[in-house]
Symmetry: C2
Subunit: 363 residues, 2 copies
Amino acid sequence: MAYHRLPEPQIRTFCESVMQKHGFNDKQSRDITDVILTADLQGLESHGVQRLIRYHNGMKSGTIKADVQPEVIHETPLSVALDAHSCMGHIASVEAMERAIEKAKAHGFGVATVKNSNHFGVGGYYAMMAVREGMMGMCFTNTEAISVPTFGKKAMLGTNPIAFAMPADPVPMLYDVATTVVPRGKLEVYAKQGKPMPLGWAVDENGNDTDDAARVIANIKNKAGGGILPLGGSSPGSGSHKGYGLELIVEILSSILAGGNTSNHVASNGLGDTSQSFFAIDLKMFGDPDDMRARLSTLMQELRDSDKADGRDRIYTPGEMEVYSREDKLKNGIPVNDSTLAELRGIAEELGMDFDAMVEVLD
Amino acid sequence: MAYHRLPEPQIRTFCESVMQKHGFNDKQSRDITDVILTADLQGLESHGVQRLIRYHNGMKSGTIKADVQPEVIHETPLSVALDAHSCMGHIASVEAMERAIEKAKAHGFGVATVKNSNHFGVGGYYAMMAVREGMMGMCFTNTEAISVPTFGKKAMLGTNPIAFAMPADPVPMLYDVATTVVPRGKLEVYAKQGKPMPLGWAVDENGNDTDDAARVIANIKNKAGGGILPLGGSSPGSGSHKGYGLELIVEILSSILAGGNTSNHVASNGLGDTSQSFFAIDLKMFGDPDDMRARLSTLMQELRDSDKADGRDRIYTPGEMEVYSREDKLKNGIPVNDSTLAELRGIAEELGMDFDAMVEVLD
C-alpha cells in the first residue's frame, strides 16, 4: 500500500475543523487534534489520523458523544474521579491530567480517574503533559479484552498500556507500551501478508501457541477463544506471569480505581466504557528536581553510550526515537496510506469540507 | 542437595536471636526476621534464611551497619526521604513504609524514598504492609547492575523488581517480580547442572544470545560483559524494549528519586548503596474502598475460573500461590537445603548459640 505525506500544519487544521463540525469547541478541537497528531508525529501510526474514521463513525453512531461533558463524581484534595459519560476519550483525559497536575502543584501529588470513557489515543501524550510542568507523569487505561492469562485460552484482559514520563535532557524519558507482547496491529500485518508470525505472540482457541495470525484475528472477532499473549509469552519460563500480572496492575489502576467495567466486560453495552487514571507527581516531594533531572540525564547518556551488542550500533533510551520521528515528520510531512487518505477525503465530503483545498498531498 | 524442614516458630526465634546478638533491638529483630521468613513462607527461598549468612557476613565486615539509624533528609506532608547510612535494608524499608502509610492515612497518599540502603529482602512484604491497612501498596528497588539494555552487551541496570499489592478476597493481589526475564538464581541452577538454559534469558560478552549459563555467571562475576536480559528477551519483536524500559522506570522510582547511585554505579564504593521507594495509597481517594475490593475480588475469581489452555487445569492470580505456600510451610516447616543448614549452624556457633537446642530439624 502506497504512502503519502501530508504537511503537519494543514492536516492539523483539517482535524480541528472536523472536530468543530462535530460540535466540539475550539479548545476541545485543538486538544483532540494534538493528541491524534502526537501519535503520528511520534511514529505511532495506529493511533494517529488513520483512526479519525473510527472517531467520526463513533460520533455518528452515538458510541462517542460530542455533546456531553465529563462530570466530577468524587473529589479529595489529592484526587478526582470523573464520569466521562461516553465523551471523546481525549477530552476526558486532557481534563483529567490537567486536574491531576493542578492538585500536584498545590500538594505534590495529584491523581484523576475516568470511567465510561472511550479510546484515549496515545497515552504518552498525557504523561508528557506532566513533564512539561517539570513533573513525573503516568497514565493507565484498560481496553476491550484481547489477552489471555497465563495457562488460559480466553481473552480476559486488555492490551492495558502503561505510559510513564520523566523530565531529562536532551530528550525526556517517555515509556508508552502495551503490556501484551505485541499490539493487535502486528498480528494484522502478518495476517494480511499471509506470513507465519513468531511463536510466543498469541494462542489459538485451544490455548496453544500458534503462528497463524489470521486464525487468531478471526477468533478474536468471533469471540471464539484464544488471543494475544502477555509480555513474556506463554510460559512462566519466559516471564509470561510477569506480563499477565502487569496487565492486571493496569486493570486495577484503571477500571478498579475508577469504578468502571473491567476489560472482560468492556463494550458489553455497546458504548465506550473504558477506564483510565492519570498521575502527576511533583519532584519537589523528593528533593531538588534539577538534581533528579541531571542524574537521569546522565544515566540515559550512559545507557546510550554503553557497549553495543555485535551487529548493533545504537542503544536507544525510551522516548528517544519518538523525538527523532517528530523532527522528521514536522519537516517532511505526516505519512498516511492510500486507505487512510481515502477515509479522510470521505470524512471531509460527509461534513461538507473540501479536503484537497485544505491539505496538500505531497507525494 | 537434600532438603530439611525447620518448624517456623523455632527458626523465627533463632533468627530474632541472631539479630539481637548483632545489636538490633526487639522490634528491629522481629521486623528483619518477619521479612526474611515471609520470603521462605511464600516459597521464595532465595530471599529467605538461605540469605542469613550474607547478612551475617555483611554485618561482620561492616558493609551492613547494625549501629546506625535511617535519617530523615527531606520531608513534606506527603513524602519523606531517608538516608539509610548502610543500615540493614529491612529496617530502613519497614520504617519507610510505616512513614508512607502514616502520611497516606492523614492525606490519602504517602511516599518514602531510601538511599544508601542494602538488600531489602522480598519487596512484596512492604507492599503488603499497606494492604493490611486496607490500602494499595507499591515498592521499588534498584540493585547492582546485572541486566543489559536492548542492543547492548554491558550490564547497566539491576534486576529492579516491582512489588504491587491490593486488597482482595479470598486472597489479595500481590505482584512481586524482577523486571529481568529471570533472576540470577535461575542461571545458577542451570550452571550447576551443566544444562543448556533456554535462549532469551541472557547474552554473552559479545551481546549474543547464549544457552551457556556458567559462562554468563562467570562473565558477571568478572565484569567481562554480557548479562541477563530484560523481560521480553533480546529482540524488540518479543518485547525486549518493554522490559528494558520497565527496568529504567524502577531505576527512576528508586535511585533517581532517592538521590542514590544508579544500578551501574551501585556497590562501587564497597558499601551497600541501593535505593528504594515505598508508596501507600488510600483507596478512599477514589471512592468506596469496599466497592473496589469487591470488584477486584470478582475479576480475580473470573480470571481463576476462565477457560484453561489444553493441558492446564488452573489459572492463578498474582499472589495466590504464595498464600498456599504459606499455609503449607506454617504446617509442615520451612525447607532449607544442606548448605543453608550448615551455614545456620555456623552462624550460631560464631555467636555462641546452640542451634540444635533451638531448632528441631524435622527430616
